[in-house]
């Protein structure tokens, strides 16, 4: 399935875009997506860490991504 991924901060710099379409397997998990993203964008391995958000919530370990979910790459936050 195709998913749309929002990228912020340094993740946007690494992906080269704030919005990216990605082909993934049905029932991919957030962990599976992270691995796929690191493979396609090796720059993501150079940052301390990143999280995946699904529909404006941090993804739980093993959470399955569904068609139509809003996905975002959340690099280390630095608000305040």
């Amino acid at each position: 399935m195709t998913i749309n991924i929002l990228a912020f901060g340094i993740a946007r710099d690494i992906l080269g875009s704030s919005l990216m379409n990605l082909q993934v397997n049905e029932a991919v998990t957030s962990d599976g997506l992270k691995a796929e993203l690191e493979q396609q964008f090796p720059g993501l391995k150079n940052i301390s860490s990143f999280m995946i958000a699904i529909n404006n919530e941090y993804a739980q370990p093993g959470q399955i991504i569904l068609p139509g979910d809003e996905i975002a790459i959340i690099p280390p936050v630095s608000g305040g």
Binding site: P75, S78, G79
Partner: protein, 138 residues
């Protein structure tokens, strides 16, 4: 009562204090984040803040709700700016009102500490000879 805002225009400190005032409170604690003129020895030209807006609002609301659960807080306000800020400008205001000062101090400190851990807002420091996203690299 909770007031959460993410704004791309200047925050208003007095308006935040006015909002958080309540006859039920004996004390108000306010945290004001400010843009510092240097990091290490490097002069800062500006900071650029961006937010994943809806999720940031959600996470700020969770922090406010957690504050109210954990301390006897009457009102809590968290306002955060996005966009370009220069030295001396204010990216964040947290204001807490409680019947007694101990809860106001504690909840306010908790809120800014938690904001810095969980809220999807990012700042880029821009120096004369480069820039970097804060905390991105080990």
């Amino acid at each position: 009562m909770i007031d959460i805002k993410i704004s791309d225009t200047s925050l208003n400190i007095q308006a935040c204090i006015d909002w958080v005032m309540t006859p039920k409170a004996g004390g108000i604690d306010v945290f004001i984040g400010t843009v510092r003129d240097s990091t290490g020895n490097e002069p800062v030209v500006r900071l650029e803040f961006e937010a994943y807006k809806q999720m940031a609002i959600n996470e700020l609301r969770k922090i406010a709700e957690e504050s109210i659960i954990n301390w006897p807080v009457q009102k809590i306000l968290i306002h955060h700016r996005t966009g370009i800020l220069t030295v001396g400008e204010v990216p964040v205001i947290i204001a807490v009102a409680a019947a007694h000062r101990s809860a106001a101090f504690d909840a306010c400190r908790f809120a800014i500490d938690k904001l810095k851990q969980t809220v999807p807002i990012w700042k880029k420091e821009v120096f004369e000879n480069g820039s970097h996203w804060v905390s991105a690299h080990p």
